[in-house]
Amino acid sequence: MEFPERMSAKITTVIAAHLDDLSEEKLAEINYGIAVFIANSYKMIIIFILAILLNVFKYFLVAFVSFGALRSFASGVHAKREWTCLPASTLFFSCVIYLGMTVNLNIYAISFIFALCFAAVLKYAPADTEERPIASSKLRRKLKLMSCITVVILYAAALYNRGTPVSSIIVFATLFESVLILPVTYKLAGSMYGVGIRINNKGEV
């Protein structure tokens, strides 16, 4: 069991001892909610501090919001292990910020990259995982629509800020997130793509 799950299991045990009217199902959901919170918050704090120390907090925030906005709806491949997650996240954001600060993209390059991202999102979003399958086709349609709208908004933001590192950072954050939803990335990471679709088709988890 990984660190967030260990911590959440301990907290859930304390909760179960104090609130005895909770069902097993509800406790499992509480346990999951706490694990999600812990898994994200401590890594976020470390990366935020690192960005402040490296004096790139403003650019990091742009990358974080652009990436996060699209990832919320499009999802994508996740690290399998806790110990690979933090270095991978740090490396990911470092690459986005470094490329954004060094590469100046013109309007044609921005449009071309966003066209690729839009096509990827249109075809493969939402890319769920074995850990969090999206089985409902209604929800999948809604998430696909939201992902497409987010790409369009990010494109507008990149064009509005063109000629500055902010524009390039938005472009690279969107590009990297679009790569994370591709089936080939799932294959390379050893994850299964389209788990939710399989559950919906066969009716099994």
Partner: protein, 45 residues
Amino acid sequence: MKRFLKPLMVLISTLALLIASTSSMACYAWLLREPKMPESLIKAD
């Protein structure tokens, strides 16, 4: 201390349930690893 423990547990449980139910509709785990979701949260048609 004990009087505050139960309301605190209720608050933590409520927030955890809120995070759990929203994360079944959108991806919360932006930073590359997500815990396994309980089956009760998996929505199907």
